[in-house]
Amino acid sequence: MSEAKKYPAPVTNPETAAFWDAAKQGKFMIKRCTACGEAHYFPRSICPFCYSDKTEWEEASGEGTIYTYSLMRKSPTGPYAIGYVTLKEGPSVQTNFVDCELEKLKIGQKVKVVFKPTDGAPLPFFTPV
């Protein structure tokens, strides 16, 4: 199962450090632009939609639905399922689905964020509700 899998630590950089600091507190952050109101992921300092620099960190609900997925049947670390989750707040995020029966995943399924440890900041994953 994925619990045994070792994930790489994020390198982090000045633009994204706040995301990883929040992840250490178990918070899943997105960025929202106060000029156009749009949320986005992964976080940027300049809004990718309107190019305003008035972007702010916002704690997301961590809830969403599976947009799509694919179950990789074999890999050096065993099977894993990659996919996209469309967050309640709007943006879709790439992730892996964990702590579940991978063969039972479905598009449209409700999922929530769960963090997994690395040697650095923890990484966000999603698991069925």
């Binding site: 982090t12 994204t16 940027r44 799509t68 997925y69 990789m72 049947r73 995020v93 790439q94």
Partner: protein
């Protein structure tokens, strides 16, 4: 401004190897360069433009030196890197440079050894910390597209399998193809699941090898002995998750590159006699056919079924060399071979069993990167003069 008719493909070469343990990557580049130069009937000292992508060891300047190109004459280089479609983009950029008088004989090379050597690493993008741990590979990134396409449009594994079946019908006549056995829809469905919903036979081969092109002015092309093939339309585009807004993995950047190329050429998909469509996976072909306008979005499954892509059987002969699904996929980059087979078709040099009659208009279209993550697309429309 247009590049329509301002550049011709005068030389082509596809390396016959699919397994090259005894050669270096640079050597393969040199062998395909030599092949294309000889096919065109020019001298390497005539080359004044050089184009290569991320597969060329060290990039353009070490390659120009290694290949022994004439540096007194060479006056234009371009190392645009857009994965598998780089070479289709290079073709358009070569035409732009030729139209602008920046070069007159351009050499484009692709070569490498994913089977018997190391692949060059890809530099990390700004997204790395937010994506790399999730293990996106070609298989699962295209699998995610197929999964959503099936969900939204009812596309089936049987329909996808028809794409592989058509490629295998063509590959049986290609003596260099890695997989020459004709397969059935059942064979594809019975092959092991690799990354849902893609089976092993939905995936292209991994091969060593390469290919090269010589692109030149109309005047020089007409002074040479090869049948005349001109570029009449070209498009390029990119697509990514764009901050995660309105994610839709059922279409590709081909939805933009295709119309640009058709508009420049002044023709429509109905006019195309032969189509080279990048076939990294069966779903790649299905989505590209929709995006290019050969059928409506969501109707690709019906379009490819029942042999519609088989030369002499269906309405749109595709990848008559067997494509990436059966023949080769040098350096995991299929753009070059797409152009090469389109030129063979227009020259009348395809295998007689798959040669399209009166083939005067062809398309070569490719993608690069990961269709389910971020990618580029490029479309070239070619005409026999």
């Amino acid at each position: 401004m247009t590049i329509k008719g301002k550049a011709y493909i005068a030389g082509i070469f596809e390396h016959p190897t699919r397994h090259a343990p005894d050669k270096s990557t640079a050597q393969l580049h040199a062998e395909v360069a030599k092949g294309a130069i000889e096919d065109a009937g020019i001298s390497k000292d005539d080359v004044d433009g050089y184009f290569c992508a991320g597969d060329a060891p060290g990039g353009a300047w070490p390659m120009v030196d290694y290949l022994g190109l004439n540096t007194k004459k060479l006056r234009h280089v371009d190392s645009t890197e857009t994965g598998g479609c780089s070479y289709i983009i290079h073709l358009g950029h070569a035409a732009e440079a030729i139209a602008a008088g920046k070069c007159s004989i351009a050499l484009i090379t692709l070569a490498g050894k994913p089977r018997t050597g190391a692949m060059p690493p890809r530099a990390a993008g700004a997204e790395a910390d937010f994506e790399s741990a999730y293990g996106a590979t070609t298989h699962n990134a295209y699998g995610m597209c197929a999964m959503r396409h099936m969900h939204d449009y009812g596309t089936t594994s049987e329909q996808l399998a028809w794409i592989k079946v058509a490629a295998s019908h063509h590959a049986q006549y290609n003596p260099h193809a890695m997989l020459r056995d004709v397969v059935t829809v059942e064979d594809v469905l019975n092959s092991p699941m690799i990354s849902d919903p893609l089976h092993r036979m939905d995936c292209c081969v991994v091969s060593d090898g390469g290919g090269a092109l010589i692109v030149t002015t109309p005047e020089i092309a007409k002074s040479l002995k090869k049948p005349l093939v001109k570029l009449i339309g070209h498009g390029e585009a990119m697509k990514g998750p764009r901050g995660g807004k309105d994610l839709d993995l059922t279409y590709s950047a081909g939805i933009w590159s295709g119309p640009r190329a058709f508009a420049e050429a002044g023709i429509t998909p109905k006019d195309i006699k032969y189509a080279s469509i990048y076939d990294s996976f069966t779903i790649t072909v299905l989505m590209q056919l929709e995006d290019l306008g050969f059928c409506k979005k969501g109707e690709g499954g019906k379009f490819v079924a029942d042999g519609n892509l088989i030369s002499g059987v269906g309405k749109l002969p595709f990848n008559t060399d067997g494509g990436g699904l059966c023949s080769n996929h040098p350096v995991n980059r299929g753009g070059m071979t797409k152009i090469l087979e389109a030129v063979r078709q227009l020259r009348g040099e395809a295998h007689p069993k798959v040669q399209v009659k009166n083939c005067d208009l062809a398309i070569a279209h490719g993608t690069g990167g990961l269709l389910g993550v971020r990618h580029a697309a490029s479309t070239a429309i070619l005409e026999r003069v």
